[in-house]
Amino acid sequence: MKKIIWFIAFLPLIYILYKLSWGFEYPRYIASFIYEHGGSFLGKFPNDPLKFIADLLGITAIQFLIASLSVTPLKSYLKINLIKYRRLLGLWSFAYAFMHSLFFFIADNEGNISMMIEDAYKRPFVFFGLSAFLILFMMAITSHKKLFSKFVKWHKLVYLAAVFISLHFIMSQKVIGLNVSVYVGILVSLLVLRLLKR
């Protein structure tokens, strides 16, 4: 099971590598071989590569967050116990949130910290995204067995992170499409399930 999670976790990164390969002389041969042998649905070089990468990293972080938040309801409502994979799922959510934030920091804020702080101050959707990332960061560094028992109550903040991420996602859109509605709907449902359980 852990191997499956690791495999799934690497798929988005492999997909990004495949898409970017089209932009380089030799890797392009590998990409076009895949394209011609059943991989045409993967497409070629992205039209808007910076947006493509940022979006995919962000969406994947949300997917892993949803997976890790589903562990408890799955156990209490459906008696499916995946509790030993929760940490791994949560860490992958953090890993993608980290890559997403780092990518933004480099591509949009030119690696300039004061520019990032100004951005977070001026733009609510950046503020919510950054706050959610800081919560996930706190959880990641305190997820080790020794620290976890001390910090377990702080880990409830993940639900606040889920709210922040929903706001971040909604506010980054021009109009709220089906895609966003589905992800935010799932996050809100998980939050409601959690509140009902109390």
């Binding site: 039209n47 808007d48 590569p49 949009d108 733009r123 959707f125 506010m171 109009v175 709220i176 089906l178």
Partner: protein, 310 residues
């Protein structure tokens, strides 16, 4: 990465000179054009002259221009319109000019394609979302059409409307569903903006009639404004004496102004407009004032505070 960014210019120029030969012979379809070129871009060939004043930029490649579109009448996604726009029927098509004009007109698209002085202009196109491209449009100046209808002292603003026909544009039926914008899409210009020689009605790109996802059969191109001002698949032009409605301005007036001139010094509330992402490129480039057309249009806004009139 060059190959991804632009079409090889020599191929493109070759093809254009072939087109010219075809035009001289006067029977484009019967001239044995090179199969490569004929196959390369779908659509009907157009007779046009290249405007030398606007031929220096290298165009974004055809695939990118035609697979990365905002056309909410079909889809909210960028790649959706290219897949879904087949329901659009660009023939037959008429454009109606009404309102404060000397003589209201109804013009047939077929007449425009055969009788209007078509020219090719390669313009920068900058989307409010932060991406950009360079497009070799075929078309004519909007002023040519407005002069045919004749302006009056009451002609102050011009409103454009996308055709409303949910059979052709399926999303027009789903207004309000998952947040789509209100339809029909409308856009507007001040009369001096509309009469500016840069303001263009496009009927084609890359030498052929407009692909459906790019706003067939006729669309506005205002190169110094954010892309959403360049309304697609126009069927009505209404000249009026007061400021007109415009869709995105109504949807979110805080984020999209009536003018929406490309301006790197005025941020969108949610992102900076100082830089842009050229399609297919991995690095951003600086956005120019009025998208690089400052010389031609800055005088239109003399004395206006562009931070207020964004």
């Amino acid at each position: 990465m060059d190959e991804n960014e632009v079409t090889d210019e020599s191929i493109y120029k070759d093809r254009r000179s072939l087109m010219k030969i075809a035009a001289i012979v006067g029977a484009g379809a019967m001239v044995p054009m090179s199969l490569e070129a004929a196959k390369a871009y779908p659509g009907k060939s157009l007779n046009f002259e290249t405007n030398k004043d606007f031929s220096t930029l290298s165009a974004t490649d055809y695939d990118k221009i035609t697979t990365y579109n905002n056309f909410y009448e079909f889809s909210l996604s960028k790649d959706g319109p290219a897949k879904l726009a087949h329901t659009l029927e660009p023939e037959p098509w008429t454009i109606e000019i009404t309102g404060e004009v000397q003589k209201p007109l109804v013009i047939d698209m077929a007449k425009i394609l055969t009788e209007y002085p078509l020219e090719e202009r390669t313009y920068r196109f900058r989307c409010v979302e932060g991406w950009s491209m360079v497009v070799p449009w075929i078309g004519f100046e909007l002023s040519y059409l407005l002069k045919k209808a004749g302006l009056t002292s009451k002609s102050k603003f011009v409103q454009f409307q996308t055709k409303h026909d949910p059979k052709m544009f399926p999303e027009q039926d789903k207004e309000g569903f998952f947040g789509n914008i209100p339809f029909p899409y409308v856009e507007g210009l001040r009369i001096d903006e509309a009469m500016n020689p840069l303001t263009f009605l496009s009927v084609g790109l890359y030498g052929k009639t407009l692909p459906k996802q790019n706003g067939a059969p006729i669309r506005l191109v205002v190169p110094w404004k954010y892309g959403f001002k360049s309304i697609k698949s126009i069927t009505k032009i209404h000249v009026s004496s007061s400021m007109t409605r415009s869709t995105w301005n109504e949807v979110n007036p805080r984020e999209y102004g009536f003018y929406s001139n490309v301006n790197p010094t005025v941020s969108h509330p949610r992102w900076s407009q100082a830089k842009e992402r050229p399609l297919g490129a991995f690095f951003k480039q600086k956005t120019e004032m009025f998208n690089g057309y400052e010389k031609e249009v800055a005088s239109l806004y003399k004395g206006m505070d562009l931070k207020v009139n964004f």
